[in-house]
Symmetry: C2
Subunit: 418 residues, 2 copies
């Protein structure tokens, strides 16, 4: 099924907002087997929107997904534009109106007069329930040159768009495919794409027909998406599970999870399962580890806190690192990293201490200790471990890579403890 993605909104076109919806939809549509040919953004202008749908149709797109412009303001013209593209009228639908009004009332608010337009739909279109907002999604179909075309319209607010796609549109699109498309995504940290592909070369070359593997690299993390296409759902599921499990077996502890979880959520869970609490001493990461750990709801049960020790005085006073040690070894050293981890554990009353010290850059390096040099340390009372890493000359990249590596160090040490 060839697809075309259309994002509507002046604020996207003018760069006031980054179009994260396009990336999310691009990935999800690929997962259900849509062959996306083009993604485009137009302003809140009826002829531009209708024209884009007409162009996609002329080029043979069997699926057009439109996102944005479904709100209640004058700028929101997507409903009218879709009706124009289909050559149908907009209808007012009482049942949609009642649902929207009830939603407002449930939240103790009165539906504004303009909210009425959200109950309109192009004739022949089906409404898709929006559990997270007022404007429903829309699903329309027609025959074009003897072939069926589907047009899906969803709001631009990311969590509303995602919920409608996941609840309603994506499962139906998956069913429409010739055969089935199933996928699983393995999440890895700590190795690059080329290392991983060398490690699983045998499993990849042995992939049966209909199975493919895609590498999705990020900063310090690589996701591996395995996709199975076939006629029979049971057979595709069996093939996919066998191949994914085989890759997962070879990669072992490199894999920190599956699907849409995050490394920080996995670390939170691993601590909670073991009844352990983490304390952090951050130098070069400047608070980024703490910010990631506490981005997970419920972190207070497993996270005591942290000391961001940017100065040597803070390393000494708040973490108990001996000033002599800093003097002799330098603040960026194995010994100081280990002392910081021990200090974090002791001073924060934590079971596990984690520490970072490094030269984030872009300046401050020497030939001995270049920009991008980072020491990580872990201390759980029984086990002390320090890791030396050498990253880049870019400050933001170094902080992000150090943060991921530090979280991954905790994860791996917890795996070893069992």
């Amino acid at each position: 099924m060839t697809g075309h993605l259309l994002t509507v909104g002046d604020e996207i076109l003018l760069g006031q907002i980054v179009n994260t919806n396009a990336a999310w939809l691009g990935e999800r549509l690929a997962e259900v087997g849509v062959d996306l040919r083009r993604s485009e953004t137009v302003g809140d202008v009826i002829p531009e929107i209708a024209g884009a749908i007409a162009r996609a149709t002329a080029e043979g797109a069997r699926l057009v997904v439109v996102t944005g412009g479904l709100g209640p303001t004058h700028d929101d013209v997507t409903r009218a534009a879709v009706a124009e593209a289909f050559g149908v009228e907009l209808e007012f639908r009482e049942e949609l109106f009642e649902r929207i009004r009830a939603r407002y009332e449930a939240r103790g608010r009165t539906m504004p007069e303009m909210g009425r337009v959200m109950a309109e739909a192009p004739a022949g279109f089906e409404a898709l329930v929006n559990p997270k907002g007022s404007a429903p999604g829309l699903w329309g179909e027609r025959d074009v040159d003897g072939r069926r075309q589907v047009v899906v319209v969803v709001p631009g607010v990311p969590h509303e768009m995602r919920t409608i796609m996941e609840d309603s549109a994506l499962p139906r699109l998956a069913e429409r495919q010739d055969g089935v498309v199933l996928s699983r995504t393995l999440l890895t940290a700590g190795r690059g794409e080329s290392d991983i592909s060398a490690q699983i070369a045998e499993q990849v070359s042995g992939l049966s027909n209909g199975l493919t593997l895609a590498y999705l690299p990020g900063l310090g993390e690589v996701r591996l998406r395995l996709t199975a296409r076939g006629e029979d759902r049971e057979a595709a599921r069996r093939d996919l599970d066998a191949a994914t499990d085989a890759v997962r077996d070879v990669l072992g502890a490199l894999v920190f999870g599956e699907g849409t979880t995050t490394l920080e959520a996995v670390v939170n869970d691993a601590l909670r399962e073991r009844g352990l609490r983490l304390g952090v001493a951050e130098s070069c990461t400047g608070g980024a580890i703490s910010a990631r750990v506490t981005a997970v709801s419920g972190a207070s049960a497993v996270f005591c806190g942290s000391v961001v020790a940017y100065s040597n005085a803070a390393k000494a006073d708040l973490l108990g690192v001996a000033p002599d040690l800093i003097e002799e070894e330098g603040a960026v050293s194995e010994a100081v990293a280990l002392a910081m981890a021990a200090g974090a554990r002791a001073r924060l009353g934590a079971d596990i201490g984690l520490a970072t010290t490094g030269i984030a850059g872009p300046t401050g390096g020497t030939s001995d200790k270049p920009v991008g040099l980072v020491w990580l340390a872990y201390d759980d009372g029984d086990t002390q471990r320090a890791v030396r890493l050498q990253f880049t000359t870019d400050r933001a990249v170094n902080v992000a890579l150090s943060t991921t590596a530090a979280l991954d160090l905790v994860r791996r040490q917890l795996l070893r403890r069992g």
Copy 2:
């Protein structure tokens, strides 16, 4: 000048990368007066790229900006596609080749055989110097139906793309406009768009012809972009400066800067100018304030460090907050926020202590202290100040808004100190 933006890359189309280039280019092209009609993304496929350029041309686009697909691999087909769209051949250019080879050698590396393709350009195209990478940008022109069309081609690597646009392409595009387009952007924190627009209603209604104002809202920050269009550069500059200064005067301390700086960079500068150092006690922000302050290169001169005190024990042991006070007032209270700020100042050896305590959510609220309640506190030894804020039920939004409000509190108090 009507414009069309074309992003090339399978990884963008499939959602493996978020297209931040489109937002950056959309904003910058608008600033130089380009009327961007459409932004689209196609895969690394010659007919798709050439087809998109042909469509834009047929629709009358006088500017087409193409980004991505200029690297040295087999996937990088943008040069060939642009040549095809223009109906010209690709030429090998010795001078480009020498520059690319010299760049590799300067970095102690040998130019790979495939790097040769980066020295090719469509006949008639001018090369735009790339100070940050190997592949040069390209600038081509032709007459279409008696009107001049410009095609600019730049790499997809963000910092290379931005540098070539800023150094070479944007100034030339600005010159091409009928008349001139100049803009200034005021950065504000602490008030929403509607508050600001009420405050400057008089200045906005008095804007002379050719001057426009756009609101660009973010989380806790609103940017105001004033744009002047006219025939005469001097007159446009004078009008723009007068209008911007008038708005800035009315908004006073709401404006924290101009252009592309950040609130954290402004706070770093304000501390440095006064010879002061900051220490932070973070509860609900979980390290996000520290991460933002230390994202600025050179932060170590003005930032002592922070204590992320997620537990009451950490608030007591590391910040010296009396356990009785936490017991009586609750951890999320004015008294505890002030005690945390004083503790951060004392324990971190800082001139200024800053503290946050709140209920980030999504759970953990009570009727007295709902999710989204946040106390900020500032203490410089002479002045103590606490601020109560009520944000949303979204954890990530609450952390971002609290972080911005806390940085802004420091900025404003420093302004008062003079």
